[in-house]
Symmetry: C2
Subunit: 108 residues, 2 copies
DNA sequence: ATAATATTTAATTATATAGTTAATTATTGC
DNA sequence: GCAATAATTAACTATATAATTAAATATTAT
């Protein structure tokens, strides 16, 4: 499933979606609150939520007080998977540097 | 400089550029080798290199054997910055969970 | 000098994405 | 039932991105 990693990267490349994620890091928000907070039309925000939902970065949380409100909460898995990929990448690069250093000191 | 983070995410959202990065994790490659390895036209690959260069993810390495060849090597800083951002995000989310758990056990 | 090689750039085309406004769906409260 | 509210979806527009082919630049080797 490298597809999810790709979609996670694409999702996070948008500043408004990053804003959504950062807000949801602190607490769940309704769609309307997010739209107001970020300064987007409800329609525009809804489309961003759809993207984030489709890759499992957020999930709806039922709000029993008023079923018109739809709250969203962060799902940490995609971000965790991204972290794993970035970390592996870094480790691989570090190994490369070590190999080059070893070659340099011990002569070709 | 949140701009670089954004451009890093956008750069990595493309599978061919991710492939370039993963190859360069192991060793430097010339533009031609990358094009062959990835299966892209030299022109298409060159444009990807331009993107990666513009955000400092790769740098040209002089090849004294033949100045027609341009080798590229990975610069780890943008990936490291991305890792920092992802890690901070995860920590913030973890704190949120702890807060919610504390509220749940100690009663509102 | 010139043919061949390695790469980049320019011009163009096709596709994807983000935003807008208007319409739609679902729910609340009178 | 019906107006008001919350959110999503549809249709459309504008912009960005990726690929292709052709042309340009720089370097090597004959």
């Amino acid at each position: 499933m490298n597809e999810i990693l790709e979609q996670t990267l694409a999702a996070l490349a948008d500043p408004n979606r990053r804003r959504v994620i950062e807000l949801l890091c602190d607490q769940p928000y309704t769609a309307g609150e997010l739209a107001r907070e970020i300064g987007l039309s409800p329609a525009a925000l809804s489309r961003h939520l759809r993207v984030l939902k489709s890759i499992g970065m957020i999930a709806e949380v039922p709000l029993y007080s008023d079923a018109r409100l739809r709250a969203y909460a962060l799902r940490p898995q995609p971000m965790a998977d991204l972290k794993t990929w970035v970390t592996n990448n870094e480790e691989r690069w570090t190994r490369q540097m070590e190999t080059l250093a070893r070659r340099a000191t011990s002569g070709s």
